[in-house]
Amino acid sequence: MSELQFIQSALEQTARRRRLARALHGGWIGLLVGSALWLLGIGIYKLAPVSIGWLAGAGMLALGCAFAGFIAGGWRKASLNETARWVDMRQNLKERLSTALEVSSQPSGSTWNGLVLADAAMSIRGLDPRRLVRFTLPMTARWALLLLCVGAGLGFVPEYRSPKFLQQQADAQHINETGRQLAELTRHELQRRPPALEVTRHSLEAVADLGDELARETLTRGEALRELASASDQLKELLRQLADNPALKKLEQAARTSGGRESQTATEVQREIDALQQQLGEQAGRPEVLEKLQHELMKAQQTAQALRNAAGGSQAAAQEQLSASLAALAQQAEQAGISLPQLDEALAALAANQIESVSQALEAALTDLERRRDLADKLQQLQAQKLGKDLAEQLQQGQVAAAVQSLKKLAEQLWSAGLSPEQLQRIREQVADAVAPAEEYGRLAEWLQQAGQQLQQRNPPMAAQSLTAAAKELEDLLQQLADAGALMTTLENLQAASHCIGTGQGWSLSQQPGTGGSSRSSAGFGAWADQHHAWSNPGSWAGSGGESSTAGTGIGSRDFSDGDPTLREPLTPARVKGQFSPGAPMPGITLKGVSLKGQSTVQYEEAVITAQADAQAALSQEKVPRAYQGAVRSYFDDLKK
């Protein structure tokens, strides 16, 4: 090995080792930078409300920095000349190596070249690259390790999250969950009852999409409520348009009064009516009588409660007044044929000055009266829903499904040959009688008139066609009614979602009666809302819709007293503390909603929407006395404007 080769070999080894050392050094610097960034990321994560992805990102960045530093450090390959200069400096060789390398590249022959090379070779005879380039932990590495340790320690420190942020996070999660529920319910509704009208289908799909959006996006409570309110408004507008159709209105009223009992035979209904009348008596079957008695009894109960707090002379006077009113009540009940033994017990307790027992007896009497009132309501409904005997009567009573069946039956009769003139006459008379009540069902009257004329002209096939068309008209109306029902169900779901988001309650909680849910929240929905609870109960739709929609009148019952017996109990109105007398000053009412204490951080719009949802819930749960319901509704409607 020549002197030059010896020098080059030593320098190559040194260069390789130096390159690795540079790469390691770069790696340590990268790790230091990455550690600092990671520490910063942890610090931000611990203090600021950022996602945990930050932390992972910072960790990846730290590793990336270390790797990038390693690559950058070892990227450049130092030339032998550079290495020679570096070794010259490190070993204090006074530029022997670098000069030797340089002169060796020049044309040889000079004695000086040999001298310089020999001198350089001699100077590095004991050179050990491993000792020259040592792989030790530089200060950078120590700092990097320290930062990593600090970062790891910081990992055990719990994160600080402001109550506002936690609330926002919970809200967002809640909104997502509510959106998911809304989307699922709406799609289920779409699948179960595909809407007949295109506009209805679009509206329902829009609501499902809104549910998806709520489930997917991160929205604030205000934004979510605004979206829901906007969707609700659209559905309400659609419902209003449907409600403008007088035929549909008639159908809806008929459905409400019939209670969905068309599928029962008239005999069964009559039997039930008789049983209830026997149970209630002549007078007791009238709800207004029972309501009056209930009202008087509530007054007496308030007096009894006031008596407990009264003292001295005022107590005696009040006791006497209560005794008189109870006696009058007992007399009224007897005249109405209602047996209320609790009143006698109350009088006896009053005489014995046992005020507590008086209250208990009056409470029991009120419960009894309420039960009777429910029975009386039921009786009234049953009386109203007896199936009409012919087409005219069915149309008059709004028994549309039965009317459709009757029309089809008549059409079939007309199609079949061999009808006697008397039979034709009877059919013509039946059709002619039905024209007047059919005026309220769109073009039905026209079809019936046409059929009547055709029958008069002895043209049964054409009359049969007209009657089929009339039946089709009614079926279309029923389908539209079903669409309206689907819209109502979806609207209720939207209301429930609004309530959920507004109050922070879960979907299932908001669906339960008495918790501000939407199960009975029909009041306040424009034209439809002015009715009682029609169109409003998704549970009832589910229970009595579907099959019954075509079998009977096709209209689901809105009466809570029938349908699924398991639903009946939770839907029974619960007694609430405090009884209100119409006309008296309105006492304070506690409405469930977001608890706002101290400085409000809630947006005004959000607060209004929440309050509206709460008010709606309170109205639907009859927490607000009937006398004040209009005022409360108009107040919140004004707020909305």
Binding site: R85, W86, K94, E95, T99, L115, V116, D119
Partner: protein
């Protein structure tokens, strides 16, 4: 003991280098017999000698400047002249003049009478006491190694060294040397006061009646050979580059200027500064037994080679900043090579 090394057979390069080292060491040994202390000054003087340049020694009177040059003249076996510069010294007194001479035949004719400049080694004592006119008489001789006298150009015999001394310019009766002449000096060496030990030794040597004898150790031809040898020493490109960057850093208001040069210099070094750095580095490398020039050699030569080539501005003079301060700062500012900065 005599250290004469000339009159030897032809030598190869290695022997030549060894001969240089021996001669250098012998010269040093002889000079230090007379000169006490001032090791660096002696070294710089010898470097200038082998580098083929002139030397300017500056110091207050009585510090041994003249003695050093005179001793050097004694150890070199070459014609040596001393010129004492005074305010009334005329150029002809240095260069020589035409005199009317009578020939053997009785004819009178002008003959050029050579001045003291016609020697190998000139001691220009207190050079700044002469007027600028007289000082300028040295310019041509120092750079071109020739003089023009009596309308004729006359070559000086090589080697030709001017070893000048001067008193600090703020002293009475001095005329500052023009920049052009200063630039012709290879080194400007500052002679400082001796230390206590050196002063003791000076007293011992000069007050006891003992006389120190010095030997001649170098003749003209050998010196010429060694000067030639010096120029053969290889210099790596990055070392040359360092010398160039040092010189460029002294040029104010340029891209390469060091900050301190911009602040305190009016003019930077001429290219002669870079030449001097390299030549001085070569001599030093050989003297230290190396075959190549190192950064350290360049740095060691920077002060004597550049201090008289930098012209400070008014601000520097007002603040008492000397060129030595500026050069020291430039040496700190200019990195030897980029790789070494990384390392």
């Amino acid at each position: 003991m005599c250290f004469v090394v000339w009159n030897q057979k032809p030598m190869n390069t290695e022997q030549h280098i060894q001969s240089f080292r021996n001669t250098y060491a012998a010269l040093q040994n002889e000079i230090v017999k007379v000169i006490v202390g001032h090791t660096a000054i002696v070294e710089h003087t010898l470097i200038a000698l082998f580098g083929g340049g002139h030397v300017l020694l500056e110091g207050v009177p009585g510090l041994g400047k003249t003695l050093l040059i005179r001793t050097l003249g004694e150890v070199l076996d070459m014609p040596f002249n001393r010129i004492q510069f005074t305010p009334d010294l005329m150029p002809a007194d240095i260069l020589g003049t035409n005199l009317v001479m009578e020939t053997d035949t009785g004819r009178r004719e002008f003959q050029f009478q050579r001045g003291p400049i016609f020697a190998h080694l000139i001691l220009a004592d207190e050079i700044n006491r002469a007027t600028p006119k007289t000082q300028s008489a040295m310019l041509e001789a120092m750079q071109e190694k020739q003089v023009t006298a009596g309308g004729e150009l006359r070559k000086l015999t090589e080697p030709f060294f001017v070893m000048a001394t001067q008193n600090p310019i703020d002293q009475e009766g001095t005329y500052p040397l023009p920049e052009a002449q200063l630039d012709r000096f290879f080194f400007k060496i500052l002679v400082g006061y001796p230390s206590a030990a050196d002063l003791n030794e000076v007293i011992n040597r000069t007050t006891t009646g003992t006389k120190t004898e010095v030997n001649k150790v170098l003749d003209r031809d050998t010196l010429m050979d060694l000067m030639k040898l010096v120029r053969e020493v290889p210099v790596a490109s990055h070392v040359k580059d360092y010398a160039v960057r040092l010189v460029l850093a002294t040029h104010p208001k340029t891209d390469t200027a060091a900050p301190i040069a911009n602040q305190y210099l009016r003019f930077g070094s001429s290219p002669r500064g870079a030449q001097t750095l390299i030549l001085a580095g070569k001599v030093r490398a050989l003297a230290q037994g190396r075959f190549n020039v190192s950064f350290e050699d360049i740095q060691a030569a920077a002060l004597p080679a550049l201090r008289h080539r930098l012209i400070p501005n008014f601000e520097a003079e007002a603040e008492g900043i000397t060129t030595d301060h500026i050069i020291a700062q430039i040496l700190r500012d200019v990195p030897v090579t980029a790789e070494m900065v990384d390392a």
